[in-house]
């Protein structure tokens, strides 16, 4: 009797399932019911494993340096936010947040505009030689830019020095100049370009033909027809660019240096060479650095997960 109820319950739950291999009718077999339960337990375990480190770091942020170094308890002895506030103020995180925000906004615009325009040309206009360009872009996916970070940095530094001379500034790091290459670098991303290109290729071609007959220029077609139709992909790329820009630290650390535009992650990377740093400061700084992306994720999780899944299939 009990067995029967169990199998009915599982069968009901499985009745809407269209993908994967288990189906509602499988729930008649005891062995398959066992599978269903094991699978459920494994799912719970995955959630626990994924969430634990994040929960731990937030809890650890409540501890003072002595408790953190010596206590073997996961739960802190007090939940007062005073330690968090102290670290926030001492490390001046307000400014780093602002700087990261500036970086992110520029990165999002640059990622959407430049990759979007290039994808539009490669997917729709297809001028002579577009295949060569596409092949060159694809090649960059195989030889990732991290390996040429040294040359990349040398180039950026040269251009910035030249710009500093032009604007008669002494040290480009005291100005907002070094933010510009950090924004622009997000305009050259092969992965996002391909996501755009695939999306644009799926747009109905009749629209463009019609617009062209109406006398729209190529650029106008992009701004008036392609962009409004592409909101889903624009959101996805903008979010990808935002998280990437928030997370980056190698190049920002080199280019922004100790200037006033240092970002949150560049500050975290500083802990590598800072001498008077306490482990609790590191822990709290880590919390400060993961909260904004988590909020962004909470808001846009649907678009993000869809974007990832969609991009992967064809890419």
């Amino acid at each position: 009797m009990k067995n029967r109820r169990r199998s009915q319950f599982l069968a009901r739950r499985y009745s809407n399932k269209q993908d994967g291999v288990l189906r509602a009718y499988d729930m008649r077999s005891r062995g398959n019911r066992a599978w269903a339960i094991v699978i459920f337990v494994v799912c719970l375990a995955m959630i626990a494993i994924v969430l634990f480190p994040v929960i731990w770091v937030m809890l650890a942020g409540f501890k003072d340096v002595k408790e953190f170094t010596r206590s073997t308890a996961i739960i802190p002895s007090s939940f007062s936010f005073s330690e968090y506030i102290k670290t926030w103020n001492q490390l001046k995180f307000s400014r780093y947040y602002f700087n990261s925000l500036v970086l992110i906004i520029g990165a999002m615009i640059s990622a959407v505009v430049f990759n979007g325009l290039l994808a539009y040309v490669l997917a729709i206009l297809k001028p002579k030689g577009h295949k060569v360009v596409f092949a060159l872009v694809m090649a960059t996916m195989l030889i990732p830019p991290t390996t040429s970070i040294v040359a990349q940095y040398v180039n950026i530094n040269n251009v910035l020095n030249w710009a500093a001379k032009l604007f008669q500034v002494d040290n480009y790091q005291t100005t907002i100049l070094p933010m510009i290459p950090l924004w622009l670098i997000y305009g050259a991303n092969a992965f996002w370009l391909i996501l755009f290109k695939q999306f644009f290729e799926g747009l109905p071609r009749e629209y463009f033909e019609a617009a062209r007959i109406d006398g729209c220029s190529d650029l106008a077609i992009f701004t008036r027809i392609v962009l409004p139709l592409s909101k889903p992909i624009l959101v996805v790329i903008a979010i990808f660019a935002a998280t990437a820009a928030w997370s980056d630290f190698l190049l920002p650390n080199l280019v922004l240096g100790n200037g006033p535009w240092k970002t949150v992650m560049a500050r975290l990377f500083d802990f590598k060479s800072t001498i008077n740093v306490r482990p609790t400061d590191i822990v709290r700084a880590v919390v400060f650095s993961i909260v904004p992306p988590m909020i962004l994720f909470a808001i846009f999780q649907k678009q993000i997960t869809k974007g990832v899944a969609g991009g992967g299939i064809k890419g």
């Binding site: 030689g129 530094n157 251009v159 790091q173 001498i275």
Partner: protein, 489 residues
């Protein structure tokens, strides 16, 4: 086919355009860094002192350090009273190996900045800092720099490129609370500290048994440089001579001698015989060591007089519970590694700018001469230390100037917050002739790294072959020196 070829050509043309554009940039930035022109032009500036000078103050404290900023603002105010023509630009700069080159190349280094004790020779060779010999000579400061430190700041021709902020000598920092708990105290409030490395192992054991805290923090962390830096003290105590300077710019390493092996065996025994090290020496770096003794997780750590704020104010140890004692001796004697934090000056700084910086140091209390603002600055600094719970102890003399020494002593007497006996033996030991040892010459960082790897290996494996590991370190270091063309025959 033809179309394809054309488009390839177009892309290539584009790439070449980029290349050549960058090539021009490279040459233009060379001009920026050319120091000769700028200093030549500056001679005229010194002639007219009322002319405005901008002093880019790289030694301005980090924005996190509010107490230090407050003290520094006071210094700037006093300085501007006597030097109204100098505009002080607050240009906090934290020296790091990955930011010095780009800034120097761009000519954007602050007028005056602090570096590390390991760096002056490297900076001098790279041409990133300027020769200030004549300016020091004119002020009569040149011969006041302690000779050992002066050689660290000079090139082969004896030109001086920097002045010392502080000197330091390594000692043994002890958490007095743990010594008290283990009953290792004397009636006068001092502690029964270990005199030799053997004793250190036993003292560590006693403390660990009595308190559960670790006896000693040994660095074996990712920053292999700090690991080797500490280890060289131990090696010298066992009679090792790690590197011979051949005097012709070449060096002969000797990392696998009997003495080094003995020292390394001692390190190994700290882990495998006495088991007094912190649970994870591989995660210990210069900063975590202070956290360990500051929070009472460990009792002893190698540290210097210029870092007493680390375990106390920064990591919570009560100000009177820190003791700094002489570094333990070995069969080869007792040696403290000593060096100094140098002030260096940007290669493109003008004479007027450097002079402004030197005047500023007088007001700041870091110069060999004293004026009214000096004493006020020293007082302000001592008051800040009192407030923050940092032990107020004497500085390690880096100038042979009785004048500044007397001023410092007077201020110190006024602002005492610790039992001087907890530091007395340390200062006695480091002022004993022959006890101080400067860093080994050569590619010191590379040597530290090789020694650090050996330390990691002996702590990992109880059965590791110390001699074989050091043989490898020696071979590796020889290869590095050879590649750099500075290996002696």
């Amino acid at each position: 086919m033809m179309k394809k070829l054309l488009s390839i050509l177009l892309v290539v043309a584009l790439a070449i355009g980029m290349l050549s554009a960058c090539a021009t940039n490279t040459s233009s930035s060379t001009d920026v860094a050319a120091p000769a022109e700028t200093s030549a032009a500056s001679t005229s500036t010194t002639a007219a002192p009322e002319e405005k000078v901008v002093l880019k103050l790289g030694i301005y404290p980090a924005d996190t350090d509010e107490a230090a900023i407050e003290a520094m603002e006071g210094v700037i105010t006093r300085f501007n009273e006597t030097h109204p023509n100098v505009e002080v630009e607050r240009a906090y700069y934290k020296y790091a190996t990955d930011n010095i080159a780009p800034m120097a190349e761009a000519g954007t280094l602050p007028t005056i900045f602090e570096s590390w004790f390991t760096e002056p020779q490297k900076l001098i060779r790279a041409g990133y800092v300027r020769d200030i010999t004549d300016l020091l000579e004119a002020r009569g400061w040149l011969d006041l720099i302690t000779p050992a430190i002066r050689s660290l700041l000079s090139d082969a021709d004896g030109k001086v490129y920097g002045i010392p902020r502080d000197a330091y000598a390594l000692g043994l920092m002890c958490n007095v609370e743990l010594f008290e708990e283990a009953g290792l105290t004397n009636p006068d409030g001092t502690i029964q500290y270990p005199k030799t490395w053997e004793e250190l192992a036993q003292t560590g054991k006693k403390i660990k048994d009595a308190t559960g805290s670790s006896g000693f923090v040994l660095l074996a962390g990712e920053d292999l440089g700090a690991d080797g830096w500490h280890f060289s003290n131990i090696a010298w105590a066992y009679g090792a001579k790690l590197v011979t300077d051949n005097g012709d710019g070449t060096y002969t390493p000797n990392l696998n001698s009997k003495e080094v092996v003995d020292a390394m065996e001692m390190v190994k025994s700290l882990k495998w015989t006495y088991d007094i090290l912190t649970p994870d020496p591989f995660s210990e770096g210069w900063a975590t060591g202070f956290t360990q003794i500051g929070t009472g997780a460990a009792a002893m750590y190698i540290g210097a007089n210029d870092a007493v704020e680390q375990p106390t104010a920064n990591n919570g140890l009560p100000v009177d519970k820190l003791s700094l004692v002489p570094i333990p001796a070995g069969p080869g004697g007792q040696y403290s590694l000593s060096g100094g934090t140098p002030y260096m000056f940007a290669a493109n700084a003008t004479d007027a700018e450097v002079n402004a910086a030197l005047d500023f140091l007088v007001a700041f209390g870091k110069a060999p001469v004293v004026d009214e603002s000096t004493v006020e600055s020293l007082r302000a600094q001592a008051a800040t230390k009192l407030e923050r719970g940092v032990p107020n102890i004497q500085r390690f003399p880096c100038w042979t100037s009785p004048e500044i020494q007397a001023a410092e002593d007077a201020v110190l007497a006024e602002y005492t917050n610790v039992n001087a006996n907890l530091y007395a033996d340390y200062f006695a030991a480091v002022s004993t002739a022959g006890n101080l040892h400067t860093e080994e010459p050569g590619d010191t960082q590379a040597m530290y790294k090789e020694l650090g790897k050996v330390i990691q290996a002996v702590l990992l494996d109880e059965n590791s072959d110390v001699q074989a590991l050091l043989d490898t370190a020696q071979a590796n270091y020889i290869a590095i020196l050879q590649e750099e063309g500075i290996l002696g025959k």
